[in-house]
Amino acid sequence: MSAVIPVSTPISQPFWEGLKEEVIRVPRCDECSHWIFYPRRHCTHCGSLSMTWREISGRATLCSYTLARVPTLEEFAADPPQNLAIVTLEEGFNVNSSLVDIEPGDMRIGMALRPVFAPVGDSGARRLLFTAA
């Protein structure tokens, strides 16, 4: 199980701590307003080193998804078929995720999604998953 528990770094910690409080915090560039995901210490758009962590709504749409008929890792074998998703936040950046409580036949690229702050076992960590809005 250990590899699937996210391990935060000094750079990303506010993101993972936010999820525990059921909020999504992402750094935004003070110079060009670009959202920086995954968190880094420079703006990938303009190179600025000045940024501020901001809370976002989590409103999102489905960018792409697949059903892994062969689990990608044994930790995901419990509830087949394993679903993987790429989600576009309304701020315009993508995150890796997974969809919950949506039947595979109802998954549609472009569908509106809202965040689910899902605990990873009893590790205390949470993952950012999504479900239909």
């Binding site: 699937v4 935060s8 960018c63 792409s64 697949t66 062969v70 995901f76 790429i86 997974s98 990873v120």
Partner: protein
């Protein structure tokens, strides 16, 4: 800008793809020496003519660091130019242009580019399950601070299948995903493989019905759309004009190249249906002075069917969104109007790790030299070769042309 077409591939060698369980086991250094020996014989050169060396360090068995020095010492040759390439499936393409550039700069005369991909024998204290454990995360790093360890693996985004599947799913949503077009690609490549003595799926032709009955692995990708890993290994020798004259066969000139790395995970692509090969191919064609329409064959890296489709579109063989139609309408056989992966592609030839990309390169050289036997392409002067690493993360292109035989 770029190459003048003065460097040529004059020798090559590759192990027949084999199942890991039954393939011979050899140390990687031993494979380097063996493949070098075979390729040198082809090129009409001796070991002492080699003065440049390019190989892999990732998954090199006997060392992670100082690999070129170790290999040069093992071979017994000093070199003027040494390099490791860590570009996954586009390593073969990347090695050749680096070798050609070094030769045109006058750094060296003959460069050995080699990718050993047979397993090494287990040491007395080594655990046979070690490899399986190491392979659990595929090309994904689990190290602290690696973005993928933090933002991919916890969500199960691991390995290649699902990444390519999500690209294909995006394509399906924006354009269409036609299983019959993909079936045609797979079946025609399999037909091509029937005439290659080394192809792993020789003797096992396929039909569209076989394809459509093939089980779904990661929607929309079926099993027959996914390459099979095999043991193998390959080498090519790139030489100067002077040394190319010693080659008993037609030298294969490196006219143009391009390379583009855009991301590690397609999640962060600006548009995952537009692939890095677009820029790579644009540069390669501009450098060569040729166009897609001038190519007599396309040897396109095919870890997945979607890789071929997007490569053909983005390299300019057809318009964006037209790839499925292109595959349906063109004859992809070695005698067809668009000879594609005439050795069967890796889907039917087998994918020997990063040496898999060598199979496309070596097939292009074999065809250009007119040595492809029953699968010989009738017109065979110009070839397009591509490589793809990661999940469409890094792509490279070579434009090759047959020179005058000595």
């Amino acid at each position: 800008m770029g190459l003048q077409g003065k460097a040529s591939i004059t020798g090559y060698a590759q192990y027949a793809p084999e199942k890991y369980a039954t393939a011979p086991q050899m140390f990687h250094l031993e494979q380097v020496a063996d493949l070098a020996h075979q390729a040198l014989k082809e090129s009409g050169l001796a070991l002492q003519d080699i003065d440049g060396l390019i190989l892999n360090n990732t998954s090199f068995h006997e060392a992670d660091i100082f690999v070129p020095a170790m290999a040069a010492e093992y071979l017994g040759i000093p070199v003027n130019f040494a390099e490791v390439v860590d570009l996954g499936g586009t390593s073969a393409v990347a090695m050749v242009w680096r070798a050609a550039a070094a030769i045109e700069l006058g750094l060296c005369q003959a460069v050995l580019c080699v990718l050993p991909a047979r397993m090494a024998p287990l040491g007395p204290a080594e655990d046979p399950t070690q490899l399986a454990t190491a392979m659990r995360f595929g090309g994904h790093s689990t190290r602290y601070g690696a973005p993928e360890a933090e933002f991919d693996i916890p969500y199960g985004h691991v390995g290649q299948n699902t990444g390519y599947a999500m690209i294909a799913q995006q394509y399906a949503d924006r354009f269409s995903y036609d299983p019959r077009a993909m079936a045609k690609l797979v079946v025609q490549q399999r037909d091509n493989a029937q005439e290659h003595p080394q192809a792993i799926f020789r003797g096992q032709p396929l039909t569209e019905a076989d394809f459509l009955a093939s089980r779904m692995v990661a929607d929309p990708l079926r099993l027959l759309e996914i390459v099979m890993p095999v043991a193998g290994g390959a080498a090519v020798i790139v030489t100067s004009e002077t040394l190319a004259r010693r080659c008993p066969h037609r030298p294969v000139k490196v006219l143009g190249f391009g390379e583009r790395l855009a991301y590690k995970s397609p999640t962060y692509a600006a548009d995952m249906t537009v692939t890095p090969i677009r820029e790579a191919a644009r540069q390669a064609f501009a450098m060569s002075g040729l166009q897609p329409v001038d190519m007599h064959m396309a040897q396109v890296y095919d870890c997945y069917t979607i890789t071929v489709l997007l490569s053909l579109e983005d390299a300019g063989f057809c318009a964006k969104g037209e790839g499925m139609r292109f595959l349906r309408e063109r004859d992809l056989g070695f005698r067809g109007d668009f000879p594609l992966n005439t050795h069967g592609g890796q889907l039917s030839f087998g994918q020997a790790g990063t040496a898999g990309g060598m199979s496309q390169l070596i097939e292009a050289c074999t065809q250009i030299q007119g040595r492809a036997g029953p699968r010989q392409v009738p017109r065979h002067d110009n070839a397009f070769v591509s490589g793809t690493g990661g999940v469409m993360s890094e792509q490279g292109v070579l434009v090759l042309q047959g020179g005058e035989p000595a």
